[in-house]
Amino acid sequence: MLQEAMAARTVILQAEGVLMGRYRISAAAAHRMLRDISRRSGRPIRQVAGDASKPRATGSGLRKP
């Protein structure tokens, strides 16, 4: 579980960084964005984060807030 959690944490932080770079938003705002999409779509935040880190994540539902 620790191994999985470490991988998840890395993916989530990387995605926050991608959103911060793409939309010029703060880390907190990026995290909120991931959490909101996770809640709305019912997908785990780790999965949403993985999509956000893909180059040009079109169709991921991630748009500028």
Partner: protein
């Protein structure tokens, strides 16, 4: 049996220092200092993702610098122990320039002996227990045996205390002292700025840190705070007039 008594004393010392889930890494480090007369110890949490590792609650004055040095250059005893799955014992750090040229050039000179042990349970590797001493010299068989038992107990204590559900473990990681979330965030940001993969972004951050004599964590904090931005034509301070 002497071995049985030793085993019990290792477990007993760890139990005494590990009082809660969040005190596991620091408790293990303190147990190392107490049992093996080292000057410091740290639990490094690693994954196979290639992302730089998390240093959890290092014990000892030079432990943060030691771990930061390895994280910045991406080489050193901890990484070798993780990759090889076996202990890495260095009785004289200064003599290791051939094996780790980057690491030996930036590690604090006072760190003279290093001992790194993979943390694993069965086939699952999740980090390294690393100890340092400010005097050169190796260990005898009894000390090595003790260190191996400490690494086993440390792996078990981590797994038992962190929580069985993935969300529990994630929560534990997020609350851990000594974490550096900016490194992964800075890699994400730089991958957008440079139009490169995350792997390349980490390499660029490391290269910039090493080239400017800063730690990876410091450079990453600069990127996240908007003070620094890596560009194709080399880094520049944010807001600098072109």
């Amino acid at each position: 049996m002497a071995t049985g008594g030793l085993q019990r004393s290792v477990a007993e010392v760890i139990r005494r220092h590990v009082v809660s889930a969040s005190s596991v890494p620091a408790g293990i480090g303190t147990a190392c200092v107490e049992l093996l007369a080292v000057d410091g110890a740290a639990v490094l949490l690693m994954a196979d993702s290639g992302a730089p590792w998390q240093v959890a609650s290092p014990v000892g004055r030079l432990a943060p610098q030691l771990d930061e040095a390895q994280r910045t250059v991406g080489e050193g005893p901890a990484l070798d122990a993780y990759r090889s799955g076996g202990p890495v014992l260095v009785s004289d750090v200064a003599a290791m320039a051939g094996r780790w040229p980057g690491f030996t050039s930036i590690v604090p000179a006072a760190v003279q002996a290093l001992f790194a042990f993979p943390l694993q349970l069965g086939a699952v590797k999740f980090g390294v227990l690393e100890m340092y001493r400010c005097s050169p010299g190796g260990w005898d068989g009894a000390q090595l045996g003790l260190a191996l038992q400490l690494a086993d107990c440390a792996a078990e204590a981590l797994i038992l205390n962190v929580g069985a559900a993935p969300d529990d473990a994630l929560h534990w990681l997020e609350r851990l002292p000594g974490k550096a979330p900016e490194i992964d965030q800075a890699a994400g940001m730089s991958s957008v700025h440079l139009g490169v993969s995350l792997t390349v972004a980490y390499a660029r951050l490391r290269g910039y840190a090493f080239g400017t004599g800063q730690s990876l964590a410091t450079v990453s904090q600069g990127v996240v705070a908007g003070r620094l931005r890596l560009n194709d034509d080399g880094p520049r301070a944010a807001g600098q007039v072109e």
